[in-house]
């Protein structure tokens, strides 16, 4: 069985990919990245829970520098995360604007290359990520084209020729929700929210764009 590294934030997409990956690979390390995001505490708590359930090795990678240079609202507490009616999930223009508000500079590029280092060091030839078709429209670093590009790069930069794989890259969130359901993942152990639950009795806010997409997908079942 091939070995894999999984990048896990415990959101809908990465969690679905983790549960798919354990069927096909020997998952030797699961990485959760702390780049100062507001939701880190919850993401880490839930990621650890899934790794405990699946008996996997989990590690947090801290990127203090990425926190320092990120000015947008996912990290910067002085900025407001778009919420409620300021979000229109089906409007490309508006979603592009809200995407800018939560953009973290080269986030997926950095994460994948960190995972590439782990893969190279630990002898894993696959890196599993959680992307989706729906958000790839506004986040170009979620797209199929991006995966193809970064795979070409990794074929040069890793001695093992590590390659990124994503089970959900062609799926919209409603399809991923069906996948989550079929994989028997606990819905209450998924943290899609941009916030950490402190203001919301430890619950997701249901108001940020990520929560709205998550709830729309879950309620479609």
């Amino acid at each position: 069985m091939d070995k894999a590294i999984v990048l896990l934030s415990a959101g809908l997409d990465s969690t679905a990919n983790l549960y798919k990956a354990v069927k096909d690979y020997e998952v030797i390390k699961v990485l959760t990245v702390n780049y100062g995001q507001r939701a880190f505490k919850k993401e880490n708590e839930y990621a650890k829970w899934h790794c405990g359930r699946l008996n996997l090795s989990h590690e947090v990678v801290s990127l203090e520098w990425l926190k320092e240079i990120t000015n947008t609202s996912l990290v910067n507490l002085k900025m407001d995360i778009p919420e409620g009616t300021s979000i229109s999930m089906d409007s490309f223009e508006q979603s592009t604007e809200t995407a800018k508000a939560v953009w973290v500079p080269n986030r997926n590029g950095v994460f994948i290359n960190i995972a590439g280092s782990y893969a190279d060091s630990l002898g894993a030839n696959t890196i599993i990520v959680g992307f989706n078709k729906e958000e790839a429209e506004t986040f170009p670093d979620n797209s199929v084209e991006y995966i193809e590009s970064v795979n070409k790069s990794l074929s040069y930069s890793t001695s093992v020729g590590a390659q990124v794989k994503c089970y959900t890259q062609h799926m919209v969130k409603t399809e991923i929700a069906e996948l989550i359901q079929s994989l028997e993942v606990n819905w209450d152990k998924i943290w899609p929210c941009y916030f950490n639950g402190d203001q919301n009795n430890n619950q997701i806010c249901k108001s940020c764009e990520s929560c709205q997409r998550f709830l729309r997908a879950k309620e479609s079942l």
């Binding site: 549960y19 069927k23 359930r53 008996n55 028997e184």
Partner: protein
């Protein structure tokens, strides 16, 4: 409902299926589920299933994952339903953790689980004056069983990880059932 995994390997003989076993031996007070691994060999003296007694059945395995559930203020019928709930959770968790394709053939028949007609478990529910009780044993391997069996080893699943997942899911379901009984208005 509290839960605890016991690291010491212990043979299940049927004697453990008694009121306050978890409390008196492991200080787990109240509604509980405890789990451990070890052989299974239930003598006729400790067999509580009348059907098994009539045919002098053998309940044996060289290595099993055992669960004992105790719930107070309930009846035997509720415990039988919990047995079937637990069996359903076991099937679901095997499907999550297994790396093999065989899991498609897992089915529950009453409180028993089969994979391609091979038996995975033994189980019994009973009642004491103060509580209802259940033993649920899952084969870790297939040695020493009197019938064709399947096991956690066949599915490449670690028994301790599996036990903790099952206990967490089961106690969450029981808590959810309790909540469901406490949030409804009475009707005429």
């Amino acid at each position: 409902m509290k839960h605890k995994f016991l690291d010491k390997k212990t043979k299940y003989t049927g004697e453990q299926l008694q009121s306050l076993y978890a409390y008196l031996n492991f200080e787990v007070l109240g509604d509980s589920v405890i789990s451990w691994t070890g052989a299974c060999d239930v003598s006729l003296d400790h067999m509580v299933d009348g059907e098994d007694l009539l045919v002098k059945a053998k309940i044996q395995s060289d290595d099993m994952l055992h669960f004992i559930v105790e719930k107070f203020n309930t009846n035997l019928e509720s415990m039988v339903l919990m047995q079937r709930l637990l069996a359903g959770l076991v099937i679901k968790e095997i499907k999550v953790l297994s790396k093999t394709e065989d899991t498609k053939e897992l089915v529950r028949k009453g409180d028993d689980i089969y994979c391609a007609d091979k038996k995975l478990n033994v189980s019994i529910a009973t009642i004491s004056p103060s509580s209802a009780l259940m033993h649920f044993g899952i084969n870790i391997g297939n040695a020493g069983t009197p019938v064709p069996t399947c096991s956690l080893d066949d599915f490449k699943i670690d028994a301790k990880v599996f036990a903790n997942n099952i206990m967490e899911r089961f106690t969450a379901e029981v808590a959810s059932v309790t909540r469901a009984t406490q949030k409804v208005k009475w009707v005429k």
